[in-house]
Symmetry: C2
Subunit: 146 residues, 2 copies
C-alpha cells in the first residue's frame, strides 16, 4: 500500500539559490542535504509536514552534479520545474513487484539507495500518464498498517 506523498522532486540549476527562494518566500528550512553520486545529483530535503502513516512529506530540490546525469539532461530539455513525484510505502519491494505485474515498467531490477538512507525505485513516466513516479521506503521503521 502507498500511504503518503513522500516528496515532490524539483529540478533546479542552482541549489543554493533555490533553497534560499523557498526559505525567503515560504519559510521552509533545509531538513537534510546530501549528494547522490549514483543519481548524479546534489539535493536538499525541505520537510513540509508529517503524515498519518508516521512519515513526512518533503520538497526535494535537485541540482545535477554532472552533465550526463538524468536530471541534467531533463533540465536542458525542460528548464527548472517538477521532475518527479514520490509515494511512500512500508515495502518498496512488494509494491514494485505488484506494480510491475500490472504491466507498468519499473526502472530498477532492485530498489536503490535514495535520500536519507531510503530505498527507492522509479516507474516509467510513459506508463504513468506522463508523471515520473518514485516509490520510497524510509530508512526509519514504517508500520505496515496505515
Amino acid at each position: 500500500m502507498l500511504t503518503r506523498i513522500d516528496h515532490i522532486g524539483i529540478a533546479c540549476f542552482d541549489l543554493a539559490k533555490t533553497v534560499e527562494f523557498y526559505r525567503a518566500t515560504y519559510g521552509f528550512e533545509v531538513f537534510h542535504t546530501e549528494v547522490n553520486e549514483e543519481q548524479g545529483v546534489r539535493e536538499a530535503m525541505l520537510k513540509i509536514n508529517s503524515t498519518d502513516d508516521g512519515g513526512a512529506s518533503y520538497l526535494q530540490l535537485l541540482e545535477p552534479v554532472r552533465e550526463d546525469s538524468t536530471v541534467a539532461k531533463w533540465l536542458a530539455k525542460n528548464g527548472e520545474g517538477v521532475h518527479h513525484i514520490a509515494f511512500g510505502t512500508a515495502d518498496v519491494d512488494a509494491e514494485s513487484a505488484d506494480i510491475r505485474g500490472k504491466g507498468v515498467r519499473v526502472l530498477y531490477d532492485e530498489p536503490r539507495r535514495g535520500s536519507m538512507g531510503s530505498r527507492i525505485t522509479f516507474l516509467h513516466p510513459k506508463d504513468c500518464h506522463g508523471v515520473l513516479t518514485e516509490l520510497v521506503t524510509s530508512a526509519t521503521v514504517e508500520s505496515p498498517e496505515h
Copy 2:
C-alpha cells in the same frame, strides 16, 4: 505559514482513464469530483494521506473542459504530467499579501474558488524556479497553529 503539501495537480487528456490508472495501479480512490467552470477543468481529488495540520494531501487530476482553458493550452504544449503543486495554509489572504510583498507575482487580486469550496491563488512559475505554485485554504476550519 504554509503547513502542508495540499495537492499535486496533474493534467491529463482523459480523466476517466487517468482515474482508472491510479485506482488499478496504486489503489487510490476518488474522494471528490467537480467541474470548475472558471478554471475550465473537470477534476478528481484522490486523498493520499492526512497531515499533521489537520488537513490532507491529494492528487488532483485535471482534464480541460474547453480548448481555451489554461490547462488545455498547457497540455497541448507539454503533454500529460505535473501541472502545479499546492501548499495549504490557514490564511491564503495573508500569505498572498506577504508573498506579493516579497516581489513574487500573485496571479489573482483576490483568492478564487478552488476544489471542495477552498479559496486559492497561484504564484507565477517564472518567479518560483519554474514551478506553478498554488496556495490553498480549505473550506473546513483550519487551525492557525501548526
